[in-house]
Amino acid sequence: MVSASQDGKLLVWDTFTGNKLVAVPLKSAWVMSVAFAPSANLVASGGLDNICTVYNIKAASPKTLRELDAHTGYLSCCRFLSDSEILTASGDTTCVLWDLETGKQKMVYTNHIGDCMSLALSPDMNMFISGACDSLAKLWDLREGTCKQTFSGHTSDINAISFFPSGNAIITGSDDCSCKMYDLRSDQEVTDYTDATLNAGVTSLALSNSGRLIFAGYDDFNCHIWDSLKGEKVGVLSGHDNRVSCTGVPADGMGVCTGSWDSFLKLWN
């Protein structure tokens, strides 16, 4: 697992033993996003410095491989496609696909009118989705660079977005305290996950492997669990002392990890 905090450090953990494997000091402490390459050789981080820095952590001491500097706004999210390509979402309302070997932009995706807050890759790697502060979620074709579909319905900034594992639906979480599921093939919103007692915005979300459970981190210091098909809340993970800022489920689907402003990362099962 890789995590970065605004104390200026990026840490790579062996989550099972709890050991920290690598510590990378960041040039800019205002980090907002990290990503792990599927090959586990590279990590990337970025934030208010507008730069996405890619590090090689398999070298004897972590080296900066590339500094991708072309955004005019903060970096809110980054995701690796492979060891040679990375997607970034930025506060300048664009998403960019970079070629890591040359360090240049391969494709710029412009259509949002608000800061892009998060992005997610489709399981087949041909498309990706992005959520932005204009309360819209957009589906993009990676190769062509065009916005294929737009989903509206939220009334505030979309902070988190994720694909349903089958690749046919997307789930979004927003500052209006609700999550929504949009179906790609029928081009509409299908479910709304709201609860009248929940008065805090959604900061992050992750799905279990079968897609049945949605783990959403909220500003009220808890991570609530929704049943994606029934649309009901089925549980809550409480234990943090401040807002939950990030959530993740590992590839083997064994559990959930939540990170919070109380500076702790907790693994739940």
């Binding site: 709890g18 920290k20 399981p123 093939r185 279990s208 098909l229 689907g253 402003w261 109380d262």
Partner: protein
């Protein structure tokens, strides 16, 4: 983030409600009948009433709310960290100690919720007072902040100094005990609202983001033109009925339910709970005998089979028997072009052409003439996606033809039969020991880092058990 300046008295949804709850607890604590026993604090010759020990706080919480000691400790700590109770012995260390260390309630005047937000002006007055009283002997960070404030609010600096002098004069006329109490209270308030560097700011939250994005988009003709264009495109898209899509989701979830460790648990046991990594060793990339669940997944969809290294190997063996292995080789070569290094693209495309597409090639693949022509044209200017059409064609060929036959073949059925279903490991007789949950020392060498780790290790084990 659309950032806007905070309106005075603005609604901080979640934190305000937590303050109200904490205040209810504090008021209950101070209830003359049911509340806590107060003691006196001795400070040289002055006796200051209304103090209590950390242990008192915890005992009271346990009694009143019927909670465990661990939870009472955590709750008490939150009360201290948010400034409702402050320690008397070591004011800068905001921790609730379950022993004889004295604490006192913060007066409602200094509650975080009453004086929200803490203004720069007030902080400047406080620092000015301290400066005058201690004749310049402020702490380093206080000195820095004082000079920063002096620069920032220079225009009202006279007012600041005047207020500071007034307040100092007024306090001199109070009894010594009251003066000490007031100073302690003020110091505690500012420790919470302007924490020294390195201490976590409990009141840290993002700037308020009201939803008014509609006022930011200029509703001119360009905007409407693009809206019309988007809607027109949306109309032209092929759609699937949502009922069909929803059925698809249900089917997917049901199919994968047994394969989801969170829903169904996993055999032999979840490594996170039992500390036994057998599950991971059994499911690693290449094993002599794969698990049954894994082999079952190959029959769900073609991509599942292709993305699993063992699945690919098995499928390759099958195709070799059918003399159509070149299809899978071609597909794999195309994947390498798509995801590999840019510098090698030209070379790889050449290879693929020589081996698979050239007339009379050793492993010629059967592509329809239209796609073949298009690909051969594209090869003249090779790029990452030049093989996409051909790859897609072969993918569908394998999916429609070889894949279903593979699933019906003896090879697959034998694999399924041989596949192992791991036994669930017996839970040990004794209640299993929780693994020590503390931070390992960081690879970073700075001594400051080491000091931070110790602090964190302490609090982590207190906040720990959630499994």
């Amino acid at each position: 983030m659309t950032i806007n300046t905070l309106a005075k008295g603005g609604l901080h949804r979640e934190q305000m409600s937590c303050f109200r709850k904490m205040e209810k607890v504090i008021v209950a604590m101070q209830d003359p009948d049911m509340g806590m026993k107060m003691r006196n604090q001795r400070l040289l010759i002055t006796v200051i009433p209304h103090a209590m020990t950390g242990q008192d706080v915890i005992t009271w919480l346990i009694q009143k709310y019927h909670i465990s000691e661990e939870e009472a400790l955590h709750l008490g700590e939150m009360l201290v960290r948010y400034g409702y109770i402050y320690p008397l012995k070591e004011p800068r260390c905001l921790v609730l100690r379950p022993d004889e260390s004295p604490y006192r309630f913060q007066t409602p005047y200094f509650w975080t919720s009453t004086r929200w937000p803490a203004t720069e002006l007030d902080y400047a007055i406080h620092l000015a007072k301290k400066n005058i009283r201690k004749q310049g002997e402020l702490m380093e960070y206080e000195k820095e902040r004082y000079s920063q404030l002096h620069k920032r609010i220079n225009h009202t600096w006279d007012f600041v100094v005047m207020q500071a002098r007034e307040q100092l004069r007024a306090s001199k006329q109070r009894r010594k005990a009251d003066r000490i109490v007031l100073e302690c209270q003020e110091q505690a308030y500012w420790l919470i609202n302007r924490p020294p560097p390195g201490v976590q700011n409990m009141l840290d939250w993002a700037l308020e983001r009201p939803n008014n994005f509609s006022t930011q988009v200029p509703l001119n003709s360009d905007y409407y033109k693009s809206e019309i264009e988007t809607s027109r495109r949306a109309l032209g898209r092929n759609r699937v009925k949502s009922s069909v899509c929803l059925e698809g989701f249900i089917k997917y979830s049901e199919q994968y339910q047994n394969h989801d460790p969170i829903m169904q648990g996993c055999l032999p046991s979840n490594p996170w709970i039992s500390d036994d990594i057998a599950y991971w060793t059994m499911n690693s990339e290449i094993v002599p005998v794969p698990t049954r669940l894994r082999v079952e997944r190959w029959s769900f969809r073609f991509m599942e089979l292709l993305s699993d290294a063992m699945g690919r190997r098995e499928f390759m063996t099958y195709l070799e028997k059918e003399f159509s292995a070149e299809n899978l080789h071609f597909w794999q070569a195309c994947e390498e072009i798509r995801h590999g290094e840019s510098s090698k693209i030209v070379e790889k495309v050449e290879d693929v052409y020589k081996n698979f597409l050239a007339p009379g090639a050793a492993r010629w693949v059967n592509i329809d003439s239209k796609t073949m022509d298009k690909t051969l044209e594209g090869i003249k200017w090779p790029h990452r996606f030049v093989m996409d059409d051909a790859q897609m064609h072969i993918y569908f060929l394998m999916k429609k033809d070889s894949y279903p036959r593979y699933l019906k073949s003896d090879l697959y059925k034998n694999m399924l039969a041989k596949a192992v279903v791991p036994q669930e490991t017996k839970k040990s007789v004794f209640p299993f020991m929780r693994r020590q949950r503390h931070s390992s020392p960081s690879p970073a060498q700075a001594s400051a880092q080491a000091a931070e780790e110790d602090g964190r290790a302490g609090t982590n084990s207190a906040a720990g058990s959630h499994f």
